[in-house]
């Protein structure tokens, strides 16, 4: 059993007189201790909502419904009452947010913002708490921690603020850390430092880390397993190397294609994905990416495709996936006549493909079972129409 098992998580916002919005739709993944799992996607794809739903931090509002399970160490976090949830938050499961300036309280000193966690979950007070707080700041690489404790967020640089925020998150040695775009608001050099720090924390304490980001560079440098999200659904999940070497979902292909590369030939152009996530709203059925997809075929409309798992936790939600590089794409990839509901496993769809591409792609892969490996095809609920 993994440390955190998210199973068929869905978040819907119902508004009177408007169509129900499915912000997150049937998302499943799991995280083991010491593992880094990435949730990747454009803004608006449901990454942050997923993390907030797991933490129970979605702003309470009428019409909000959270479904599915998020089992942390045997407890379903979604079923907890407010009180037990507060006991777990900050102690066992902690979170790091995107914008360190606005995520810190501007009117109280850094020290108190650290010690209040210690007081709440570890019962530490006075000098002992001060000492521990200073050690925490030291551990996350803030120089002169005693002095920093007395300072206010506006007196710290961006990188220092994010370090302070991380110190607060790791104050109680949580077993699971969720980092929601922890480097987006920072300079590139600082980004690298913060990522290095997070890696260190994971390595030293065996904390599980869920990394939410839109930045494929971050993913490449950190994550063991990656879930690519589009319009609230996981469209592709794979271990890191297979994902980068042979992306199968056209959206993943598009994401990788829109990242500038140093080794690209002169005059080679970036390939942006046309349109934007917003187009989904007008697209009620079928694959949500279809309106922007270059590989769209007739079967894309209708039932949304299920997440077909191949092997080693690898899977994608597509009826006409991109061919594995180096293989000849068979004509009419999705067998005509097949209902678009399920896709045959990748191997079957591509007779010419070498079997077990992941094994080839990643010969040195460590054996840790990949996230979601146990989950079967994930049912893909359709967009709801509110009566």
């Amino acid at each position: 059993m993994a440390l955190l098992e998210v199973d068929d998580l869905s978040v819907t916002f119902a508004r009177r007189g408007q169509r129900t919005v499915r912000a997150v739709d049937g998302v499943s993944f799991s995280v083991d201790a010491g593992q880094v799992v990435g949730l990747v996607g454009e803004s608006g794809c449901g990454k942050s909502v997923t993390s907030l739903a797991i933490m129970g931090l979605l702003p309470k509002q009428p019409g909000l419904r959270v479904g599915g399970k998020a089992v942390f160490d045997g407890t379903d976090l979604l079923q907890l009452d407010d009180r037990s949830r507060r006991d777990i938050r900050g102690r066992d499961v902690a979170m790091i947010f995107q914008d360190p300036l606005s995520s810190l309280n501007p009117v109280i000193p850094i020290g108190l913002q650290v010690t209040e966690v210690l007081a709440r979950h570890r019962g530490m007070k006075g000098e002992a708490a001060q000492k521990e707080a200073a050690e925490l700041l030291d551990r996350v690489g803030i120089p002169d921690p005693r002095r920093r404790l007395k300072e206010y967020p506006h007196q710290l640089s961006g990188g220092m603020r994010q370090r302070a925020l991380i110190a607060m998150a790791v104050a109680c040695r949580p077993r699971l850390l969720i980092a929601d775009e922890p480097t987006t608001a920072l300079d590139v050099t600082i980004q690298a430092q913060i990522l290095e720090l997070l890696k260190e924390l994971v390595r030293d304490s065996g904390t599980a880390l869920v990394m939410i980001t839109h930045d494929l560079g971050v993913v490449a440098g950190m994550c063991d397993t990656i879930n690519v999200l589009y319009a609230g659904r996981v469209v592709e999940k794979a271990r890191r190397r297979p994902l980068f070497r042979e992306p199968r979902h056209p959206y993943t292909v598009g994401l990788l294609g829109s990242v500038p590369r140093l080794d690209a030939g002169r005059g080679e152009r970036l390939v942006p994905i046309p349109g934007s996530v917003r187009d989904v709203l007008a697209w009620p059925d079928g694959c949500a990416f279809a309106p922007r997809c270059a590989r769209r075929i007739d079967e894309c409309v209708g039932e949304p495709p299920e997440l077909s798992l191949t092997h080693d936790g690898r899977g994608y939600r597509c009826v006409n996936p991109a061919p594995v590089p180096g293989t000849v794409p068979p004509a009419g990839t999705a067998a005509p006549g097949a209902t678009a509901a399920t896709v045959a496993p990748a191997e079957a769809a591509e007779p010419g493909a070498t079997p077990a591409p992941a094994g080839i792609a990643e010969p040195g892969a460590t054996a840790a079972p990949a996230a979601g490996g146990v989950a079967g095809p994930v049912p893909a609920p359709r967009e709801e129409e509110k009566p």
């Binding site: 933490m55 931090l57 702003p59 407010d82 949830r85 507060r86 006991d87 777990i88 938050r89 900050g90 102690r91 902690a94 979170m95 947010f97 914008d99 606005s102 995520s103 810190l104 309280n105 501007p106 009117v107 109280i108 000193p109 108190l112 209040e116 966690v117 709440r120 979950h121 206010y152 506006h154 925020l165 607060m168 998150a169």
Partner: protein, 334 residues
């Protein structure tokens, strides 16, 4: 901090000069003068001229102003043309009453307004929220003197819970030191006198508090709603802090800045606006006295009153600025 206070107090000097010069000239440009108020319609031009000469009003306006400023430097505000008593003495007797009333009203307005505004924000869209938002609209709309009469009729004349007029029961025979009746009672340990004075403050205080209360409820509510959406509140929640800690340490403190600003402005307004309430409750504060001074064209009283209000305004807002720096380290004064 100290330099900041001194600088602000020094800024007060040019402000007061400008204000007094403007008003000095403006008041004397008003049609009619003290001589008309004293003589009425029947005075002959000769009699009017005699009174004007007597009061020094026949001299050039700048000469008059010079004399006013010279006297002011020795804290002499001149003599009231209607009561013939020193303006300073009149103020010493009456101003403390108004200050007590204002303080009472602000205590009521803040004491009820901030918690109510906070609760309304937390229960946004529910009954309490609608009640307090609707109630505050009524509070702003109801004329203060009308509310004063209603309160007086119900709680004093019908129920007999509170006294209907005055600042204190004269039969107590309280000792006077500062003319702040509550303070005097405490200083002289005449507890019954202090309690009685306090009791007299309740109804006029309530009436006067209605508008600031409504404004504070609304500003607190809006400000809390804004802070609740801030990222750092989410961080505090993510730390698993108790709701109580999140509320007091993270939400309320950040929501207080706009409220404190409005409190400063409202207090100044109450001091000068207590006239109607004081009239209804026959409360011998400065309001009624100044209202009378206006119709009597009692220049020295009006000038003195305006200057005192200006000083109080500046002092109250200085306090507000100082409390900013306590609440928010980003605006630490230098």
């Amino acid at each position: 901090m100290f330099r900041f206070i001194v600088r602000r107090l020094l800024q007060l000097i040019p402000t007061l000069f400008g204000l007094s010069l403007l008003l000095f000239i403006w008041l004397r440009r008003l049609p009619g003068g003290p001589e008309t108020a004293i003589l009425g319609e029947r005075g002959t031009p000769e009699m009017r001229a005699a009174i004007r000469r007597n009061l020094g009003l026949d001299e050039p306006i700048l000469v008059q102003y010079g004399r006013f400023v010279r006297r002011l430097l020795s804290l002499d505000l001149g003599t009231s043309t209607s009561t013939k008593r020193s303006v300073t003495t009149e103020f010493f007797e009456r101003f403390p009453g108004t200050v007590e009333l204002t303080v009472m009203a602000m205590i009521i307005a803040i004491g009820i307004g901030i918690p109510l505004g906070y609760l309304a924000a937390r229960r946004r869209g529910r009954l309490l929220d609608h009640l307090s938002v609707g109630g505050s609209l009524i509070g702003i709309c109801i004329p203060v003197f009308f509310l004063a009469y209603v309160l007086k009729a119900i709680f004093s004349e019908n129920l007999g819970w509170f006294p209907s007029s005055g600042r204190q029961d004269p039969t107590i025979g309280a000792t006077r030191i500062t003319n702040f009746f509550v303070v005097d009672g405490l200083l002289t340990r005449e507890w019954d006198a202090a309690a009685d004075a306090l009791w007299h403050l309740v109804l006029p205080g309530l009436a006067l508090a209605s508008i600031p209360l409504a404004i504070i409820v609304r500003i607190t509510r809006a400000s809390v709603l804004e802070v609740l959406n801030e990222d750092f509140v989410r961080t505090a929640e993510a730390k698993g802090l108790t709701e109580r800690t999140v509320r007091s340490r993270h939400v309320l403190r950040n929501a207080m800045l706009p409220v404190v600003t409005s409190i400063g402005l409202l207090t100044g307004g109450l001091l000068s606006g207590a006239v109607l309430t004081e009239t209804v409750f026959a409360f011998s504060g400065i309001g009624a006295f100044v209202a009378e001074a206006i119709s009597q064209r009692d220049y020295p009283v009006l000038m003195g009153f305006i200057l005192i209000i200006a000083v109080v305004y500046v002092l109250v807002n200085l306090l507000v600025d100082l409390s900013y720096s306590v609440i928010d380290p980003r605006v630490r004064v230098r």
